[in-house]
């Protein structure tokens, strides 16, 4: 009971009119005024961050989202009236949307699976101690520091059918007789942009998985070794279970990231030929280019909705697996 009274005294909200305040001692009032001041100070310190986040993140987000329900076209802003779900209806009625949606799935999973496997292998390799390990780490992590758009431009020229280095190499080793028009054919264009993304994103997995691997205690491997476990068994029964949460979250982050990553495709193909390499975000950029911010914003909201649903199911699946394991 005594504890309860003290609590109510210290709460800033229990000020005027509260029985304890009326009958409290001078020391209690001092404590209370100190607490109010402290609260104000905390608020003052937090204010810049709150203002920053509100002005630069939430306001543009909400402002952008409401465009999805308006006739918001830069070519004519004299009428930006509310149009309800018209922008969404136009998107769902466009056959390109379904091509773009499928391309996005191919783009995400076609990129993430090789990135994960190769990144994991590199991380395992870099975990071992060997000469110049630091140099190798730096070289492998370097691509992550380059702009995705620049990577796209480089790969665009590398995949150029007539003047590109890739056809040249394939031809020199005798794998092809005639140049492959990589970016001119819908199938090979999707392969080309995915290869570029795999090359770029492997690094991220290598960094994250290496950091997780370094947290696995050596004692576990020593115990496994004493029990006669081989390398593969130690990988699947010690390493992976230990870093499972990091792996799960890294994959989730990458899915969201790749889903929202237009740079490489935009620089390499611009979504072509004939929309066959567009993903949701490149399609959104293309829509803004013709000034239709209403429809572009609607595409953005569809992306957010898809990612929220995916993340919810993914996290749920991870939790269920954890419960089964425990």
């Amino acid at each position: 009971m005594q504890q309860k009274v003290t609590d109510s005294v210290e709460r800033p909200s229990a000020d005027a009119g509260a029985p304890v305040a009326l009958h409290g001692s001078t020391a209690t009032r001092r404590r209370r005024s100190f607490t109010v001041r402290k609260g104000l100070a905390i608020l003052a310190f937090l204010a810049p961050a709150i203002v920053f986040v509100t002005v630069f993140i939430y306001y543009p987000m909400i402002s952008g989202s409401q465009m999805a329900f308006r006739n918001w076209n830069l070519t004519n802003l004299t009428d930006t009236s509310w149009v309800g779900l018209k922008n969404f209806e136009a998107i769902f009625a466009d056959p390109v949307f379904y091509t773009v949606l499928w391309n996005t799935v191919v783009w995400v999973f076609g990129s993430i699976i090789p990135q994960f496997v190769i990144g994991f292998a590199i991380a395992l390799w870099l975990r071992r101690r060997f000469r110049f390990r630091g140099l190798y780490q730096a070289l492998i992590f370097f691509p992550w520091a380059i702009s995705g758009f620049l990577i796209g431009i480089l790969f665009r020229w590398m995949f150029n059918s007539e003047f590109g280095v890739i056809n040249d190499l394939l031809s020199k080793v005798g794998l092809i007789d005639t140049p492959i028009p990589w970016l001119a054919d819908p199938g090979s264009a999707m392969v080309a942009v995915t290869i570029a993304n795999v090359w770029y994103g492997v690094t991220f997995f290598a960094i994250m998985i290496l950091a997780a691997l370094q947290s696995v205690p050596e004692e576990l491997f020593e115990a496994g070794s004493l029990d006669g476990a081989g390398k593969a068994r130690m990988l699947f029964q010690i390493t992976i279970p230990y870093i499972r949460v990091t792996l799960g979250l890294t994959v989730l982050l990458r899915v969201i990231w790749i889903f929202n990553f237009p740079d490489i495709i935009w620089a390499m193909t611009g979504g072509g030929p004939a929309n066959q390499t567009h993903i949701m975000t490149t399609w959104m950029i293309k829509t803004t280019q013709r000034g239709d911010y209403g429809q572009a914003s609607a595409i953005g909201l569809i992306v957010v909705a898809i990612l929220i649903v995916f993340s919810a199911f993914y996290l749920l699946a991870m939790r269920e697996k954890k419960e089964v394991n425990s």
């Binding site: 059918s161 054919d185 030929p273 929309n275 280019q289």
Partner: protein, 437 residues
């Protein structure tokens, strides 16, 4: 309590300083106490060499007008028009801006551009403008939203040596000639190609030029997508013939990968010596001139390709300088635009950027009569053969059209659409747009 007051004072002082800094940053455009006016000028088609030329011209202007300062903003080309839109929408930070024929429509519709008719009413420079420049400087209602600084017009870049080796006397004059010569030169085994085909970004522009050449006798010169009978150029039977030739050039005389080629690949293909023909704007003259793969004696330009009528339609593209409606210094802005649009400044800008000039006397200078520029003189001297017509580039839906037509052109190239379906789709698009106008 005293400590609390001090803390509050500090807090308000900090906030006050922050506010003052913000005001100082946002209030950098305008007049100073000594009466000097500072103009904010934004360019759109930015490149470093061009920016240097503009800065030089601004220095000359400031020397002549010591009470006016000009601050040049040069956003990267890819984002420039969006940046300009944002600045215009916010209503601050821009006085003079680069207006393109494809942006003037939306900018004017949104009320962002100032009609400079009053400020330029007594401008002496009107008299020396070429007919084209004068035509573009005023819209149908006589309003001046921008004064062009030059024109981009197409000509055929060709390899003199390859044409001669293939047994031809001179460059192709028509689209059919191009098909014949480019097919003869094409040899993929040697990595040698006939024509730098544009299948990627803006690929629609060259198809339309081919169609217009086949219909040159019937084109409405004020709207080059229309025939004089009011129908679209895409509905005419001649358009089918044009497409047949045009896509044959792709199949028989171009690299297969050119489905995805945009400006950089086309220019590279010609500059590195692997491709014999290229249809491009004069700005490419300077780029090809710097090529280490082909010498000055190995290439030249020829006039635009004609259709079966022996005529061609030159679709002029242009851009110029305009004033923002929200500018508080419209008089000074007009003064700067007048300076850039006459005399030495205009000639320098056009020559340095390989543009067809806006001034009558500049067009007669030696610069435009020699070398690769000679084909432009030929075209200018034969206006009945090389007819200048206005494409509806100022339509609000022009960017939408570009995206649609580019995408459908690629569909034909990769076999997802027939040539007939393409023409039907384009015809239906423009009929619908004009119906709703």
């Amino acid at each position: 309590m005293k400590r609390g007051i001090v803390a509050h004072k500090k807090l308000f002082t900090g906030l006050g300083l922050g506010l003052a800094a913000a005001l100082a940053l946002t209030g950098c455009t305008g007049s100073s106490d000594d009466g000097t006016v500072t103009l904010q000028m934004v360019e759109s088609l930015t490149n470093p060499a061009r920016t240097d030329v503009i800065k030089g011209l601004i220095s000359d202007f400031e020397a002549e007008n010591p009470d006016i300062k000009v601050e040049l903003i040069s956003p990267p080309t890819d984002q420039a028009d969006q940046k300009i839109q944002q600045m215009l929408q916010s209503g601050s930070g821009v006085d003079v801006l680069e207006v393109r024929d494809i942006t003037v429509g939306p900018f004017a519709t949104n009320g962002w551009l100032h009609n400079m008719s009053d400020e330029l009413a007594d401008w002496s420079g009107w008299e020396n403008l070429t007919d084209n420049a004068a035509k573009y400087a005023k819209n149908a209602d006589g309003e001046t939203f921008y004064v062009p600084y030059g024109f981009y017009g197409l000509s055929l870049f060709y390899r003199t040596d390859l044409v001669e080796e293939a047994g031809f006397d001179g460059p192709p004059a028509s689209w059919d000639d191009l098909l014949e010569q480019a097919s003869a030169i094409q040899d993929p085994g040697k990595n040698q190609f006939g024509y730098a085909f544009r299948g990627g970004t803006n690929g629609n522009s060259n198809v339309v030029v081919a169609i217009e050449a086949y219909l040159a006798d019937q084109i409405d010169e004020d709207n080059a997508f229309k025939l004089t009978d009011g129908s679209t150029i895409f509905a005419a039977p001649e358009a089918r013939d044009a497409l047949k030739t045009y896509f044959s050039i792709f199949e028989e005389a171009s690299p297969p990968s050119s489905v995805a080629w945009g400006y950089p690949e086309m220019v590279e293909a010609f500059s590195n010596g692997s491709t014999a023909f290229l249809l491009q704007d004069p700005e490419v003259i300077a780029t090809v001139g710097q090529s280490e793969a082909i010498g000055a004696d190995q290439w030249n330009t020829a006039p635009l390709l004609t259709g079966p009528t022996g005529k061609a339609i030159q679709p002029m593209a242009t851009a110029g300088w305009g004033t923002a409606e929200a500018s508080e210094h419209k008089e000074e802005a007009a003064k700067l635009i007048a300076f850039l649009s006459e005399g030495e400044a205009s000639t320098t800008f056009a020559e340095q950027n390989s543009l067809v000039p806006i001034l009558k006397d500049a067009a007669e200078s030696e610069f435009y009569k020699t070398g690769a520029w000679a084909s432009y003189v030929t075209m200018n001297e034969n206006p009945d053969t090389y007819i200048t017509a206005v494409q509806p580039r100022d339509s609000a839906w022009w960017t939408e059209w570009i995206q649609k037509s580019d995408s459908e052109l690629q569909q034909v190239l990769i076999g997802q659409m027939t040539q007939e379906e393409l023409l039907e789709s384009w015809d239906a698009y423009w009929v619908e747009k004009w119906k709703n106008e």
